[in-house]
C-alpha cells in the first residue's frame, strides 16, 4: 500500500495540546440495507451530553482510526458503504474554537490543518462510497466532514456554512478546494467569503440542494430512514446523482479567475485590503481550479497556520466570544426574578422615534403599545404610518396575516394621558432636551401605578438630571437605542445612582424580549458608543482645524477599518447634530474632547459639505464648505495623526474603565462591535489599541494580557 499524503506527518504538537478537549466519539453500527448491502454508520457524539460535537486532535485521531478500520473492512468485503451523522440536533460544529487559544506555535497550527485533512480525507478514500447524512447544523469543519464524502443528504432544518473568514480564518480542512470544485466558483466565493464576512453566512437546506452542496433532502419525520433507503438505491444503481453545478472545463478557464478577481475588487472597495482572511481564502479558491487536491490541501495547511497565529484571528475570536457570551448573559444584569411583568407599554410622543419604538415593542413584546400627542390628527397619522410599516412586513412575508392583524390591533393612540394608567413600562420619545423630557415624564408619573417603570430615550442627556423632576426617580432608567431601531442589535441601559434593582431588572428583561443585546452603562455623557464616536469625530475636527487636508484625515482613519470614516459619519448624522454633540462632550470633558466651531460653520451652509466622486466616495470639501472653514497653518502628518487618534482612544477607553462607565473591557468592545459596527478583526477597539502599541504609549500597559481569548460555547 502506498503512503498517503499525511501518513508520515508528525502530529505531536497538536496532540500535546488536546488535554482539555471535550472528546467527540465516533461510534459505529453496521446497518443491513434492504438490498442486503451493509452500511457502516458512524455517529459523532460529544462526550458532553447536549453539546454539538466538535473536533480537535483526539477526536480527529479517533475518527481517523475508525475510518482506517472501516477501510480494512471494506477491502475485506464486509461493508459496502460508510455513512456519517451527528448525534442530537447538530451534524457537527467543526473545529473546537474554545481550543484555539492553546495553539501557540506554527507547528501546532499546521498540524491542526493537516490532521483535519488526514482524518476527513479518509472519507473519500475508503474503497467504497461514503455518505454524509447532514441531520442538523454543519458549520465550518462540520460541513467539511460532509464535503469529503461521496454523497450527501440533508435534513430540512439543517443549516450549512463555512463562516471562518468572518472570524479572520479560512476553511482549513478542505473547504476552499472541495466546495468550488463541487458547486462552482461563484457560489463557493459567496458562501466562504462574501456571506462569511457579513457574519451571517449560512445556507438553508433547500438552498443547499439548489446550490448542489447536497444531493437529496428528506423530511424530518424520516430523515435517517429515508437517507439510508436512498443510499441503498445509489449503491444498487437504481438511483444516481447529477451534479449540474460542478464546474466544467469552460468554467475552469478564464471564468474561474475572473470570478475571483471580481470579488477581490469588490472586497477592496468594501472592506479595504487590511483584512487578511478573505484574500487568503480567495487565493486558495483561485488555485483550486486546477483540481489538484494534494497541492490544494498543502496550500490550505500553510494559509490556515498563517492566519491562526495572526492577530486578526486572535482579535476576531475575542470579538466572537464576547458577542456570544454577553448576548446570552449581559454583565451587570440583576436577577431576572425581580423584573416586573410588562403587559402594556406607553410611549410618550408620536414622532418618528416614537413610531419606531411602537412597532418594535408591539412586534416583539406582543402587548398593547400606546402612543400620544396633543392633537387627534397627529396620533391618527402616527397609527396609520405604523400600520403601513406592518403592511410592508406582511407584504414581504415577514409577518403572516393573522400576526399582522394582531400587531395592528396592539397599536393604540390617544390624546388623553389618563389612558396611560395601566402601562407597566413607559418610555418617552420626545425632543432631546432635558426640560422637555422632564415635563413629559413628570406628566405621566401621577397617572401610572407606583410600580411602573419609566425609561428615557436619550443619547446625550443626564438621566439623573431628568429624574430630578420625578417623585420616584428610582424607577427611571435610560434606554439608548441605535438607529435604525429595528435593525441595530445594541441597547445601552443607563443606570443612575438612584435606579433600583427592580427597574434595572425590568429594563434588562424588556431588552431581552426586544431581541436586543443590552449593556449596562453609567450615567455619563455619551455613555459608551457616542463617547467613543465623539472622541473620533473630535480628533478629525481637531486635525482639520489645524489645517490638515481632508485626504490625510481620511487616510489616517482608514487604518481603524471603521465601517464609515468620521467625516462620512458626520455627513450622515448631520453637521448640526455633530457640532452639538462635540460641544456637549467638550463641556463635560474640556481637556479631552474637541469642540469644533468649524462644524457649526459647516452646519450653516446651504447644500453639500463634501465633494464626492461618481461612486459616492469623499474626495474633498465643496466650494461652499471651503468658504466657511477656518483652518490653521500647522497640519499634522498622517502618522502623527494616527498616533494621536490611537493614543487618544486608548486613554479615553482606560478612563471609561476606571470610571466604571462599563464594568469590564468586553462590554466596551461589545458596544463598539454591535452599536457602531467596528470590525471583528480589531476585536472592536481595545485589542486593536494593544496591537498597535497605543495602550503602552498612552498608559504604559495593555487592556488585555497575552492571549485575550475566552472559551466560547458554540
Amino acid at each position: 500500500m502506498s503512503l498517503g499524503q499525511y501518513d508520515q506527518t508528525d502530529f505531536s504538537e497538536i496532540n500535546s495540546i488536546s488535554a482539555n478537549e471535550v472528546p467527540t466519539r465516533a461510534r459505529v453500527r453496521d446497518i443491513t440495507l434492504s438490498s442486503g448491502r451493509v452500511l457502516a454508520l458512524i455517529t459523532l457524539c460529544s462526550e458532553q451530553p447536549g453539546r454539538p460535537n466538535t473536533l480537535w486532535a483526539a477526536s480527529l485521531t479517533e475518527l481517523k482510526h475508525v475510518l482506517d478500520e472501516l477501510k480494512g473492512r471494506a477491502t475485506a468485503g464486509e461493508i459496502h458503504a460508510v455513512g456519517i451523522i451527528g448525534s442530537g440536533r447538530a451534524f457537527s460544529a467543526g473545529a473546537d474554537l474554545s481550543m484555539m487559544p492553546a495553539i501557540a506555535s506554527r507547528d501546532a497550527a499546521m498540524q491542526l490543518a493537516q490532521l483535519g485533512h488526514h482524518a476527513l480525507g479518509r472519507l473519500s478514500d475508503l474503497g467504497v462510497p461514503s455518505f454524509g447524512f447532514i441531520n442538523g447544523t454543519a458549520l465550518g469543519g462540520g460541513l467539511e466532514i460532509a464535503l469529503h464524502t461521496s454523497y450527501r443528504t440533508i435534513h430540512p432544518s439543517a443549516v450549512l456554512g463555512l463562516p471562518e473568514v468572518g472570524i479572520g480564518l479560512l476553511p482549513g480542512w478542505g473547504g476552499t478546494f472541495l466546495l468550488p470544485n463541487l458547486i462552482g466558483v461563484d457560489a463557493a466565493i459567496k458562501i466562504m467569503v462574501s456571506d462569511a464576512l457579513k457574519n451571517r453566512g449560512t445556507v438553508a437546506a433547500a438552498q443547499a440542494v439548489e446550490l448542489g452542496i447536497v444531493d437529496a433532502l428528506f423530511p424530518a419525520s424520516n430523515f435517517l430512514e429515508d437517507s439510508l433507503k436512498w443510499a441503498d438505491s445509489i449503491l444498487t444503481g437504481s438511483s444516481s446523482v447529477i451534479r449540474d453545478q460542478q464546474p466544467n472545463a469552460d468554467v475552469r478557464g478564464t471564468l474561474w479567475t475572473e470570478a475571483v478577481e471580481a470579488e477581490r475588487c469588490r472586497l477592496a472597495r468594501k472592506v479595504g485590503i487590511v483584512p487578511k482572511a478573505p484574500y487568503a481564502a480567495l487565493e486558495l479558491i483561485e488555485k483550486a481550479k486546477d483540481g489538484d487536491r494534494k497541492a490544494a490541501f498543502e496550500r490550505e495547511d500553510q494559509a490556515f497556520a498563517e492566519l491562526i497565529l495572526g492577530e486578526q484571528f486572535e482579535a476576531s475570536l475575542y470579538a466572537f466570544n464576547t458577542v456570544q457570551k454577553l448576548s446570552k448573559r449581559p454583565s451587570g444584569a440583576p436577577d431576572s426574578a425581580s423584573a416586573r411583568k410588562v403587559t402594556k407599554v406607553g410611549i410618550i410622543g408620536a414622532g418618528l422615534m416614537a413610531r419606531q419604538f411602537a412597532l418594535l415593542f408591539a412586534t416583539r413584546l406582543r402587548v398593547p403599545v400606546l402612543l400620544n400627542d396633543l392633537d387627534e390628527f397627529r396620533v391618527t397619522e402616527a397609527v396609520s404610518r405604523i400600520h403601513e410599516e406592518i403592511g410592508g412586513l406582511e407584504a414581504k412575508g415577514r409577518l403572516d396575516h393573522d400576526t399582522a392583524n394582531r400587531i395592528r390591533s396592539l397599536i393604540l393612540a390617544s390624546t388623553d394621558l389618563a389612558d396611560y394608567a395601566d402601562c407597566d413600562f413607559v418610555i418617552e420619545a420626545v425632543f432631546e432636551e432635558t426640560r422637555i423630557k422632564q415635563k413629559a415624564l413628570a406628566s405621566i408619573e401621577p397617572i401610572i401605578s407606583a410600580e411602573a417603570v419609566l425609561a428615557t430615550n436619550t443619547s446625550s442627556l443626564s438621566v439623573e438630571e431628568i429624574g430630578t423632576a420625578l417623585e420616584n426617580p428610582e424607577r427611571l432608567v435610560g434606554f439608548h437605542f441605535f438607529n435604525p431601531v429595528a435593525a441595530m442589535p445594541l441597547l445601552e441601559i443607563v443606570s443612575t445612582p438612584m435606579t433600583n434593582q427592580e427597574t434595572l431588572a425590568t429594563a434588562f428583561a424588556t431588552a431581552k424580549a426586544l431581541g436586543k443585546t443590552a449593556v449596562l452603562t453609567a450615567d455619563v455623557p455619551g455613555f459608551v458608543v457616542n463617547r467613543i464616536l465623539a472622541k473620533v469625530m473630535g480628533e478629525a475636527a481637531h486635525a482639520i482645524e489645524q489645517g490638515t487636508s481632508l485626504e490625510t484625515v481620511e487616510r489616517a482613519f482608514a487604518s481603524l477599518l471603521l465601517p464609515m470614516s468620521p467625516i462620512e459619519l458626520i455627513d450622515l448624522v448631520g453637521w448640526k447634530v455633530a457640532a452639538h454633540v462635540q460641544d456637549t462632550m467638550h463641556d463635560a470633558f474640556p481637556d479631552r474632547f474637541f469642540a469644533s466651531e468649524n462644524f457649526h460653520r459647516l452646519a450653516s451652509i446651504q447644500g453639500d459639505v463634501l465633494e464626492r466622486d461618481e461612486n459616492g466616495r469623499v474626495v474633498g470639501w465643496t466650494h461652499a464648505a471651503q468658504e466657511v472653514l477656518e483652518t490653521g497653518v500647522a497640519p499634522i502628518g498622517m502618522t502623527d495623526l494616527l498616533h494621536r487618534i490611537q493614543d487618544g482612544l486608548a486613554n479615553e477607553a482606560r478612563i471609561m474603565l476606571s470610571e466604571r462607565v462599563v464594568s469590564n473591557v468586553e462590554d466596551l468592545d461589545l458596544c463598539l462591535l454591535l452599536g457602531a459596527g467596528w470590525p471583528y478583526i480589531n476585536g472592536g477597539l481595545t485589542p486593536y489599541l494593544d496591537r498597535v502599541g497605543a495602550s503602552r504609549r498612552s498608559f504604559g500597559a495593555t487592556f488585555h494580557e497575552g492571549k485575550h481569548v475566552a472559551a466560547p460555547i458554540l
Binding site: 466519539r25 461510534r27 454508520l41 424530518a220 424520516n222 430512514e225 439510508l228
Partner: protein, 406 residues
C-alpha cells in the same frame, strides 16, 4: 317532520394496507429506550404513506391512533400529533382512542364504521404502546367502588392473575399444553422470519443507542427461537406461587406501533387500489374481568353470528397471544386443535411481543399477508382479549379467494 335525504351512502370497507415498526423489548436495554412513542407512531404512518404513493395524503379523512396510557409522549391526542409529526397535511384530522389491548383493533373498527356509512373515504387506524415508558397500570386510579361492590376483583387488574384464572376454570388446559403452544409460537415466528414473511411489512426505525450511536431497528427484538419445553418447564410463575403461567407463556413487555390504511369502495375504485382484505363483520363482548382472557370467545361468536358464518368458515386465525392459555381456551371452545395449522401460522405475540394498543393491526397485517398466499381461504379471523374483561373479533374476507377451498 319530513325526512331529508341521507348525506352519506353506505359502502363496503377495505383494509388496503398495513405496516408496523419492528417491536422492541421494553426497558433500558430495549432498542426504543431513547425513542418516543409518538415518533414510533409517526414513523409507521410515514412508512405506510410512502408505500402507498397513489393515495393522496390530503384525502385521508381521519387518523385514529390507540394507546393504553394516554399521557406524556402518548398523550396529546395521538392521531393528530402523529399525523403532524409524520408530515401529513394539517388539513388531515385525527384523534386518540383507548380499549387497552384492543386499541388498534378499535381504531380499525371505528374507522370502518365511519367508512361504512360513507363519512370517510380513507382513514388511517393503528396504535402505539411504549411499555418501557408507560408500564401497564401505572398512574391509574381505579374507582374504589369496583372492589368494594365486587364489580371487579383486584386480581382482575393483574393480567397474569387473570390468565391463571383460566387454568382454574378449565383444568384440562394444562401447563404442559400452554408451554407447548408457546414453544411453537417461537418456532413458527423463527421459521416465518427465515422465509422472509414478516419483514416486508416492517417499517425500519432509526434509533439512538445508549452510547449515542445511531442505528436502524429492522426486526422484532424479543424473539427466542431457541425455546424448548425443558426450558419453559423450569421458569418461575411470577403471578402465583406454584402457578402455571410463566414469562415463557406470556407475551413480553414491548414497544411498538402499527398503522393501517382503510378505504371505502368508491375510494378504492377512484384510485385503482388493490385492497388486501375486505371487512365482513366485527364485534366486541364483555366477560368477567377476573378471567378476561376468555373474552374473544363471545366476541367471536357474536361476529360470526352477525356475518352469518360459522367457525368452520374461518380458514385462517390470527389470535393475539396475550397468554398461551388464553388462546387455548378459545381453541378448545371451538374444538380446534392446539396445533391447528390455520392458527397463527407465523407465530404470535409470545414471540414477537405485544405492545398493547398496537397489536390489533399487527394481527390484521399478518392475516392480509397470509391471504395473499392462500387463495383457497375465503375468511379469516383476528381476535384478542382485553383487560377488564372484554374480547374483540374482526372477520375479514380474502380478495384473492379463487372459490376453490382446499
Amino acid at each position: 317532520m319530513e325526512s331529508r335525504q341521507k348525506v352519506t351512502t353506505p359502502t363496503n370497507v377495505y383494509f388496503v394496507d398495513g405496516v408496523r415498526t419492528p417491536f422492541g423489548r421494553a426497558g433500558e436495554k430495549g432498542m426504543y429506550h431513547n425513542t418516543r412513542a409518538d415518533d414510533l407512531a409517526a414513523k409507521a404512518i410515514a412508512g405506510l404513506m410512502a408505500r402507498n404513493p397513489d393515495v393522496p395524503a390530503e384525502r385521508i379523512d381521519e387518523v385514529i391512533i390507540a394507546a393504553t396510557s394516554q399521557q406524556g409522549d402518548q398523550g396529546l391526542t395521538l392521531g393528530r400529533t402523529a399525523a403532524l409529526l409524520a408530515g401529513l397535511p394539517e388539513s388531515v384530522p385525527g384523534f386518540a382512542i383507548d380499549r387497552m389491548c384492543a386499541g388498534a383493533m378499535t381504531s380499525v373498527t371505528t374507522a370502518c364504521g365511519g367508512i361504512g356509512i360513507g363519512a370517510y373515504d380513507f382513514a388511517l387506524a393503528g396504535g402505539v404502546e411504549h411499555m418501557g415508558r408507560h408500564p401497564f397500570g401505572t398512574v391509574v386510579d381505579p374507582n374504589p367502588r369496583l372492589a368494594a361492590e365486587g364489580l371487579v376483583s383486584p386480581e382482575a387488574l393483574n393480567m397474569g392473575a387473570t390468565a391463571e384464572r383460566i387454568h382454574d376454570r378449565f383444568p384440562e388446559l394444562t401447563k404442559e399444553r400452554a408451554d407447548r403452544f408457546a414453544m411453537h409460537s417461537q418456532h413458527k415466528t423463527h421459521t416465518a422470519y427465515q422465509a422472509g414473511k414478516i419483514q416486508p411489512d416492517l417499517v425500519p426505525v432509526a434509533v439512538t443507542d445508549s452510547d449515542g450511536a445511531m442505528s436502524l431497528a429492522v426486526e422484532d427484538e424479543g424473539r427466542r427461537p431457541e425455546t424448548t419445553m425443558e426450558g419453559l418447564a423450569g421458569l418461575r410463575t411470577p403471578f402465583r406461587p406454584h402457578g402455571k403461567v410463566t414469562a415463557g407463556t406470556s407475551s413480553p413487555l414491548t414497544d411498538g406501533a402499527t398503522i393501517s390504511l382503510l378505504a371505502g369502495s368508491r375510494a378504492v375504485e377512484e384510485f385503482g387500489l388493490a385492497p388486501k382484505m375486505g371487512l365482513v363483520s366485527f364485534a366486541f363482548a364483555g366477560v368477567d374481568p377476573e378471567i378476561m382472557g376468555i373474552g374473544p370467545i363471545p366476541s367471536t361468536e357474536k361476529a360470526l353470528r352477525k356475518a352469518g358464518l360459522t367457525i368452520d368458515d374461518i380458514g385462517l386465525f390470527e389470535l393475539n397471544e396475550a397468554f398461551a392459555i388464553q388462546v387455548l381456551s378459545l381453541l378448545d371452545h371451538f374444538s380446534i386443535e392446539d396445533d391447528d395449522p390455520r392458527v397463527n401460522p407465523w407465530g404470535g405475540a409470545i414471540a414477537m411481543g405485544h405492545p398493547l394498543a398496537a397489536t390489533g393491526v399487527r394481527l390484521m397485517t399478518q392475516l392480509a399477508a397470509q391471504f395473499a398466499e392462500r387463495p383457497d381461504v375465503q375468511y379469516g379471523l383476528t381476535a384478542m382479549c382485553v383487560g377488564l374483561g372484554q374480547g374483540g373479533s374482526v372477520i375479514w374476507e380474502n380478495p384473492h379467494y379463487n372459490g376453490r377451498r382446499n
